[in-house]
Amino acid sequence: MFTRLDYIIWIGIIVLALGGVLYYQQIDVKGQSKIEITVDGEVYDIIPLTRDMEDVSREVQGFIGTTYIEISGSRARVTYSDCPDKICVHSGWINKPGQMIVCLPNRVIVQMTSDMEQDIDLYTN
């Protein structure tokens, strides 16, 4: 009764479990992140992400109109934009450092960054 299929399933389960372990550790190292909003290359706002932060929304005046940004539960998305193609809105949520939402027509970039300064223990004066 213990067929080849059984073994494959068991191995699959073990791989999933080990994968879970590694994934958890990955999250642990990530540390604290920020959402950085830029308009036409200029920094408009930087919002540090904390564990129990309240939801944040921003209305950003861009090149052709307004972009609405929502930050909720350590992730960010564009809820509405005056741009014609709405690619930014369709991008959905970003939740990892390095990810970004770009609205080319409105020249708005929403980026999640993990600041180097977060990794500093002490400052010398």
Partner: protein
């Protein structure tokens, strides 16, 4: 996932031996899952204990990583007791202190001091010699003349400086190890162990923590010394602030089992007739130097970092860099008035 496991256990009508294999496999899987949960829920890794007090005219912070927070806190309290005992002996501002008696008896007679004071004076003379007087432990009368310490800042005349300059010379300190005496040869001479004593106390505190078994800790009293590495087994990262734009960094330096200290012209200064005068006075000219903004030194102990950063600041970028390169186990980063960085070769390799 549990569903699958149960399904397989109950669908197996075959031999019990095979059933047993499956049960073992289930135990194995459950083991992995509980191990994962344990790792992330039960054990938050090393625990941090920390405390900050006011001492030596500054804040004095100890941060310690250990497996037991309560024990860590107790150890920190003990370390603070050690530090306070040392402070009593060394502080210049406590009237009964050795330093005060040494200064009051300048030009009069040798003063017998505590072995600790003697040791610090010895160290101060040692670094004055190494830097050929660019750091000079007898600079106190000059600081007084410029009003640093008293708070009444004023630019002295050339004559006034000329009068005081002969009082600033570490070679005029006589020490006798057998009797533990210190003697300043001329009346009006004075030593100030303020900066060096702070470094000495930080050194002593870290060494105490190490003797008590601590493996990962740091003390920050302006002078910084770290013990071991961070709990994640990487070096501690020290941000060096820009001397003018204080929220900006000019460098990030990784250190482990080392000290780091910065001398800067922004720490204490006053402005007279639109000109800025800072507290790092060249013992040879009697005036604040004008070449540097800040010097950061990394070395095995705080006393070295403290005195050598002052010395390199006074020497200026080229000679300062030369001094730091010459000394073993010493690295540094010099930032001059043109906002140019000079970095010792050993530090260049490890900095980002």
């Amino acid at each position: 996932m549990l569903k699958i496991i149960f399904k397989y256990i109950y669908n197996t009508e075959g031999k019990t031996r095979k059933r047993a294999v499956e049960v073992l496999a289930v135990i194995f899987i459950v083991g992995i899952i509980s191990f994962t949960l344990y790792n992330h829920l039960g054990d938050d890794g090393p625990q941090v204990s920390s405390k900050r007090v006011f001492m030596m005219d500054t804040t004095f912070e100890i941060v310690l990583y250990s497996t037991d927070e309560g024990q860590g806190n107790r150890l920190i309290d003990e370390a603070f007791n050690e530090a306070r005992n040392l402070e009593k002996v060394l502080s210049r501002f406590i009237s009964s202190s050795d330093v005060d008696r040494i200064n009051r008896n300048a030009g009069i007679e040798p003063v017998e001091v505590d072995p600790v004071t003697f040791h610090v004076v010895e160290k101060a003379i040692h670094f004055s010699e190494i830097s050929e007087g660019s750091f000079d432990v007898t600079v106190a009368p000059l600081l007084e003349l410029w009003g640093f310490g008293t708070g009444e800042h004023s630019v002295p005349t050339e004559e006034e400086i000329k009068e005081v300059l002969p009082l600033v010379d570490y070679k005029k300190i006589e020490i006798e190890e057998d009797n533990l005496t210190v003697f300043l040869q001329e009346e009006g001479m004075a030593i100030d162990l303020g900066g060096i004593a702070k470094g000495y106390i930080v050194d002593h505190t870290i060494e105490y923590l190490e003797r008590q078994g601590a493996e990962s800790a740091f003390v920050d009293a302006g002078d910084i010394r770290v013990l071991g590495e961070r709990p994640d087994e990487t070096p501690w990262k020290i941000g060096v602030r820009h001397p003018r734009q204080r929220e900006d960094l000019i460098a990030v330096i990784p250190v482990s089992d080392e000290s780091i200290d910065t001398s800067g012209d922004y720490e204490r200064f006053f402005i007279e007739d639109g000109k800025r005068y800072h507290h790092i006075i060249d013992p040879h000219t009697g005036k604040p130097t004008r070449e540097m903004l800040s010097v950061t030194v990394v070395s095995p102990d705080c006393v070295a970092a403290d005195t050598l950063s002052t010395a390199a600041f006074v020497l200026g970028p080229e000679k300062g860099l030369e001094l730091l390169e010459e000394l073993p186990e010493v690295e540094g980063l010099l930032f001059d008035v043109n906002e140019e960085l000079y970095i010792t070769s050993g530090l260049k390799d490890i900095m980002k």
